[in-house]
């Protein structure tokens, strides 16, 4: 007897693996808009009281903020840096192109009650809503972060890209945030998109 053809055909048909369906890509539902009362054209620097107030006074920002000083000497004072806070920048129209990072001018004074043996840094992150995908997940936001060391005088820090984000990239808006850690007072004098 010869080898039956039907069984062989059936077996051959079943040698192919296949997949039907699959996870569709995510869709971004935009959050509240933060229009800027000022032109957001280059150089994308927020330094004066009016400019910094845009980051504080919107429906997205949260935390214990106070705006102190005036003109370019103004700064945002975050009284409870140990709690969650977020500063939302204005929507950039047009989007800022070729942004490398965010530069903050800050002072960070940990609470004197924090034990000297403890870590005295505070971690600050920034997120970019980008014009192009950051990685294979088209809905991901670019993430930058750094630990800020205690400083009594104004100090500039450039936040470091995290994960798969490789600058430069186009930015539609930016927000700066922290989940809080050490007690202390964090002050931000200037926010700048570095290009």
């Amino acid at each position: 007897m010869t080898v039956p053809i039907l069984p062989v055909l059936l077996l051959a048909l079943l040698t192919a693996a296949c997949e039907i369906g699959g996870r569709p890509p995510g869709v971004v539902v935009p959050g509240p808009a933060v229009p800027s009362p000022f032109p957001t054209a280059p150089p994308y620097v927020w330094d004066t009281a009016e400019e910094l107030a845009v980051w504080m006074n919107n429906s997205v920002a949260r935390g214990s903020f106070a705006l102190e000083g005036s003109g370019t000497d103004a700064f945002i004072r975050i009284e409870r840096a140990d709690r969650d806070w977020l500063l939302r920048g204005p929507d950039l129209q047009p989007a800022a192109e070729a942004v490398l990072t965010v530069r903050l001018r800050y002072r960070w004074r940990p609470d004197p009650d924090v034990p000297p043996t403890a870590s005295l840094t505070t971690r600050v992150s920034a997120f970019f809503e980008t014009t192009t995908a950051v990685n294979e997940d088209a809905t991901a936001q670019a993430h930058l972060s750094s630990n800020l060391s205690p400083r009594d005088d104004w100090t500039d820090v450039e936040l470091r890209p995290q994960g798969q984000f490789k600058p430069p990239i186009g930015v539609e808006y930016c927000y700066v945030q922290s989940y809080g850690a050490n007690r202390g007072v964090l002050e931000i004098d200037r926010i700048e998109l570095v290009r």
Binding site: M1, T2, V3, P4, L6, P7, V8, L10, L11, L14, T15, A16, A17, C18, E19, I20, G21, G22, R23, P24, G26, V27, V28, V29, P30, G31, P32, S59, V60, L86, R88, F127, E129, T139, Q141, Y173, Y175, Q177
Partner: protein, 195 residues
């Protein structure tokens, strides 16, 4: 892989060409049945894995000496969050029959693979800036190629005009658990009856 297929098709052909002992019972062209099985797989780190399964089966008696068994069984427990099923297609080649033709011992050779089905409901992932990423619900069906060789024996006993009982013992060699042993019991209903 191609060599493996050629080997077992050749073996199946040689066995099919050998007459079974005893008289040729007149089995119906189709038998519909159900099986319950236990599988012990030895290809896992940290010891053997044990799963149970149950599901329907269909036998096509192509000639008195060759039958095709098709079976699918839902198996569990597995690590998958959805539904996992084992499918198997094999040739059953009688090697011994009782004098009254009611009991048949067959050599079986075939292949097995896995099926997966799962569905996920819509999920919403809020972001810090008040926006959200919405992942629509979806369903996925995936079938793997039958890259596991199944060798064993099967015993069928006709207990009434329309009903037969089955017992099977198989060894799995391949991607499905490395080396595994499957024992199954089942019942089959001959379409048109056993004569």
């Amino acid at each position: 892989m191609q060599r493996l297929w050629l080997t077992f098709v050749t073996v199946a052909g040689l066995l099919a060409a050998s007459p079974a002992r005893g008289q040729d019972a007149s089995a119906p062209h189709f038998e519909i049945g159900a099986n319950a099985s236990g599988i012990v797989a030895f290809g896992f780190e940290g010891g053997a894995g044990v799963v149970g399964g149950a599901g329907p089966g269909l036998t096509v008696n192509v000639t008195p000496r060759v039958a095709i068994d098709l079976a699918a069984e839902f198996i569990g427990p597995t690590e998958s969050s959805g539904t996992t099923a084992l499918y198997q297609t094999q040739l059953a080649l009688p090697i011994r029959r009782s004098a009254d033709g009611k009991r048949t011992l067959s050599f079986t050779v075939g292949a097995a693979g896995l099926l997966w089905y799962w569905q996920a409901s819509e999920t919403r992932s809020p972001r810090l800036d008040g926006s959200a990423v919405v992942y629509p619900g979806y369903r996925t069906f995936r079938i793997s190629a039958p890259t596991t060789l199944a060798l064993g024996i099967a015993r069928e006993e006709v207990v009434s005009r329309h009903v037969a009982t089955r017992f099977g013992l198989q060894t799995y060699l391949g991607s499905l658990g490395g080396i595994a042993v499957r024992a199954s019991v089942g019942v089959a209903f001959g379409v048109g009856g056993y004569r």
